[in-house]
């Protein structure tokens, strides 16, 4: 294949990756930014979103489009509910202590993963895309649904940006992130904000999974890869920085797409983890993070 089409395909693959990654990583970033909790179970919320999407489209709807739309609404809500419950029952009881929450979320990872294994089974299952058409470029064909994933992710990111920067909920979240005690002194119900943000973080992972599920397959072990990639993105972007996370998701998604194609996917993973190491050494607060005083 010539360089031009090759680059086009690599960029498309990179953009799809970046779109989904930015949603999942933003969830992780929000949770860390506001709660200071490193959520190791984040990938399992992603997996749970995909499993619920499969269940909805398989069991409740015969048409893939209606199943997809329902999944896009129901899956995040259910996953958010699970996250809210686990925040109330687990994280709050250990006072959101940074070390304890890491161990607690590792526990949640296993509980969710094994729970899904028991209920959903060990098989990989596929979801039909809500619509399927193939765009035939002169050099290769590409799934139209994949392109629409990029657009849908952009739409969802705009909504998220609006919520965070223009609404009261966003204001309260940002205030809690900046200074928890001061926010509390101003009458912000910090505990409730914590619960909400943890749920929203998980919902973002679930939405990302609903978008990707018709492209990939739903499997109880599918949460591990996005967890690793989200951590890479959040560390490079700067823990807690939304702008940084979006930038890093684009950077990692595109470099993953392009390096994987021109060289090898293993090299792409090596480059992104090397980038993490370099960032941690030379700019531990991340590319866009604020240095702690």
């Amino acid at each position: 294949m010539d360089l031009g089409p090759f680059l086009l395909l690599a960029s498309l693959e990179g953009l799809v990756q970046a779109a989904v990654l930015s949603l999942a990583a933003l969830g992780l970033c929000l949770v860390f930014g506001v709660l200071r909790v490193v959520n190791v179970a984040h990938g399992e919320f992603y997996m749970l979103g995909a499993v619920i999407a499969w269940w909805i489209s398989y069991a409740l709807f015969s048409h893939p489009l209606s199943g997809f739309v329902a999944a896009l609404i129901v899956a995040p809500v259910l996953v958010g509910g699970v996250a809210l419950a686990s925040e109330r029952l687990v994280l709050r009881r250990i006072g959101h202590n940074p070390e304890a929450t890491i161990v607690a979320t590792i526990g949640m990872l296993y509980v969710i993963q094994q729970g899904v294994l028991i209920l959903f089974g060990p098989d990989a299952r596929s979801i039909e895309p809500p619509f399927y058409f193939r765009i035939d470029f002169p050099w290769f064909g590409y799934s139209g649904y994949k392109l629409s994933v990029i657009l849908m992710a952009l739409g969802l990111l705009s909504v998220l940006w609006y919520v965070i920067s223009r609404t009261r909920l966003g204001l309260v979240m940002r205030a809690t992130q900046l200074d928890r005690e001061m926010a509390q002194a101003f009458g912000i119900p910090v505990d409730r904000v914590y619960g909400t943000v943890f749920a929203v973080g998980a919902m973002l992972a679930a939405v990302a999974a609903v978008l990707i599920a018709p492209i990939r397959q739903v499997h109880y072990l599918m949460g591990l890869d996005p967890l690793l990639m989200s951590f890479i993105v959040v560390i490079i972007g700067g823990l807690g920085s939304i702008r940084g996370t979006l930038f890093a998701a684009l950077l990692i998604g595109m470099s993953d797409g392009i390096i994987s194609m021109f060289f090898s996917p293993t090299l792409a993973k090596m480059v992104s983890t090397l980038l993490v190491a370099l960032v941690l050494i030379f700019r531990p607060e991340g590319l866009f993070g604020r240095r702690e005083p």
Binding site: F137, G141, Y142, M222
Partner: protein, 434 residues
């Protein structure tokens, strides 16, 4: 006063609870393991076959069918008098398709369950991870794995593969047909671990012997979930795209391959059915496979002139004429592999009866008896077809099939002879100490 009474009631409750718990514990352990009780009673204890099963992890769809085939075979053996007059009991442990867990399962069989043999696993990394432990514990280990690792001599005297032909033999026997019917310039897509490396090494040399060449090797890491990025590496002058993949991502792989080629020109496609084991051919987006070819170890769709043995085997395992479960037409079997589980159990039976096996002390005799086997004629016990067995390399050799996708089903277009797949043995396990 009332406080004391309360405390007494509490204590009573607690001790009652304890008793309940103890009783429940006994009941549960008896339920899980009734044969432990039989074992204590002495010589009429059942023959215990420890089945290392991919019940979870990336091999789960194979595991589900391996279990059904094994359970059906054990059931048949028991109804016909068992082995040496003793019933056979299958003790199943999940290995999670994980080599570390696999080795632990072997230990469990040897020490806790005290099984007579271990049996059944598929994925090459689990076999390679478990074999050393089976050798150390001197536990005969009959695998249904396909990989060349048994025949290569890299394992040990306790590991056998008598029920399924190895990859080296499979690919060597089919290379001449591929070269003369599909093309000689090949690009290979294969999983980047032992099983895939067997394909890479032995198909490359077999096709070279036919005057063909492999233009490009495209290894895919085992945890990969997205595949489009690999397809641009397929050189334009490729005549045949050879693909083999296993794991939860296989359907995505095949769909993305269809998207990539679109409606434009594409090379001939020759795949191992592994890429679509347990997958329904009527799944949307698989239409492009029409006219492509697949290796099949044992044809999924019943063929014209179906043997009575195949009919019998399908009936016992619960597979319909299209290779799906009789209970659920969407539950597709791993037909090209699971027959190995069925056949291997009858080989264990044959070897145990030849050696007069009565307990773990007779394991060396069992090993020697298995090594002395030379041929398995096509029969109810060997429905896939006649096989010959080489006791020196612990490996059997059978016929392979090449099928073409026609109208959403697979029709056999070529069947190799056993001799097509024979190669010069590179090892001799019989020289190793028992």
């Amino acid at each position: 006063m009332s406080r004391t009474t309360n405390r007494q009631t509490d204590l009573k409750k607690r001790s009652t609870l304890k008793k309940f718990a103890a009783a429940a514990g006994v009941a549960v352990s008896a339920q899980i393991n009734p044969a432990m009780i039989g074992y204590v009673q002495g010589s009429d204890r059942p023959i215990r076959v420890g089945m290392q099963l991919h019940r979870t992890g990336i091999g789960a769809s194979y595991g589900r069918w391996y279990e059904r085939a094994a359970v059906a075979a054990v059931d048949l053996i028991n109804r016909e008098g068992g082995i040496n007059g003793r019933p056979v009991e299958l003790v199943i442990e999940d290995d999670g398709t994980d080599p570390k867990r696999g080795a632990e399962v072997i230990e469990k069989f040897a020490t806790q369950h005290q099984t007579d043999v271990a049996y059944g696993t598929l994925f090459s990394h689990v076999v390679i991870g478990s074999s050393p432990r089976a050798g150390e514990l001197k536990l005969p280990y009959y695998v249904v794995s396909e990989g060349y690792h048994v025949a290569s001599g890299s394992l040990n005297r306790y590991v056998f593969q008598p029920g399924i032909t190895d990859v080296r033999s499979q690919v060597s026997s089919m290379a001449p047909w591929v070269a003369s019917n599909l093309g000689k310039k090949i690009t290979m897509i294969f999983p980047d671990y032992a099983f895939g490396h067997d394909h890479r090494d032995y198909f490359s040399s077999a096709i070279a012997a036919q005057g063909g060449e492999v233009l490009e090797l495209i290894p895919i890491p085992p945890t990969e979930s997205s595949f489009t990025r690999y397809f641009p590496k397929i050189p334009r002058e490729t005549e045949v795209l050879y693909h083999v993949l296993v794991g939860p991502g296989v359907l995505t792989f095949v769909k993305e391959m269809g998207q990539y080629f679109g409606s434009g020109d594409r090379p001939q496609i020759f795949g191992f059915i592994d890429s679509l084991e347990a997958v329904d051919f009527s799944t949307p987006q698989l239409e492009f496979l029409e006219g492509t070819h697949f290796w099949e170890g044992y044809p999924r769709y019943a063929q014209p002139g179906q043997s009575e043995h195949d009919r019998f085997y399908r009936d016992k395992v619960g597979v319909d004429q299209n290779g799906a479960s009789v209970n659920d037409p969407k539950d597709i079997s791993t037909y090209s592999h699971m027959f190995g589980c069925w056949e291997t159990l009858f080989i264990i039976k044959q070897a145990m009866e030849m050696s007069g096996y009565s307990g773990p002390a007779d394991r060396p005799a069992l090993i020697e008896a298995t090594e002395s086997l030379t041929e398995f004629p096509e029969s109810r016990n060997h429905p896939q077809g006649r096989k010959i067995f080489n006791g020196r390399i612990h490996q059997c050799f059978g016929s392979q099939h090449i099928s073409r996708v026609e109208g959403g089903r697979l029709d056999v277009v070529h069947t190799t002879s056993i001799e097509d797949g024979l190669y010069e043995p590179e090892a001799d396990y019989t020289r190793m100490a028992l």
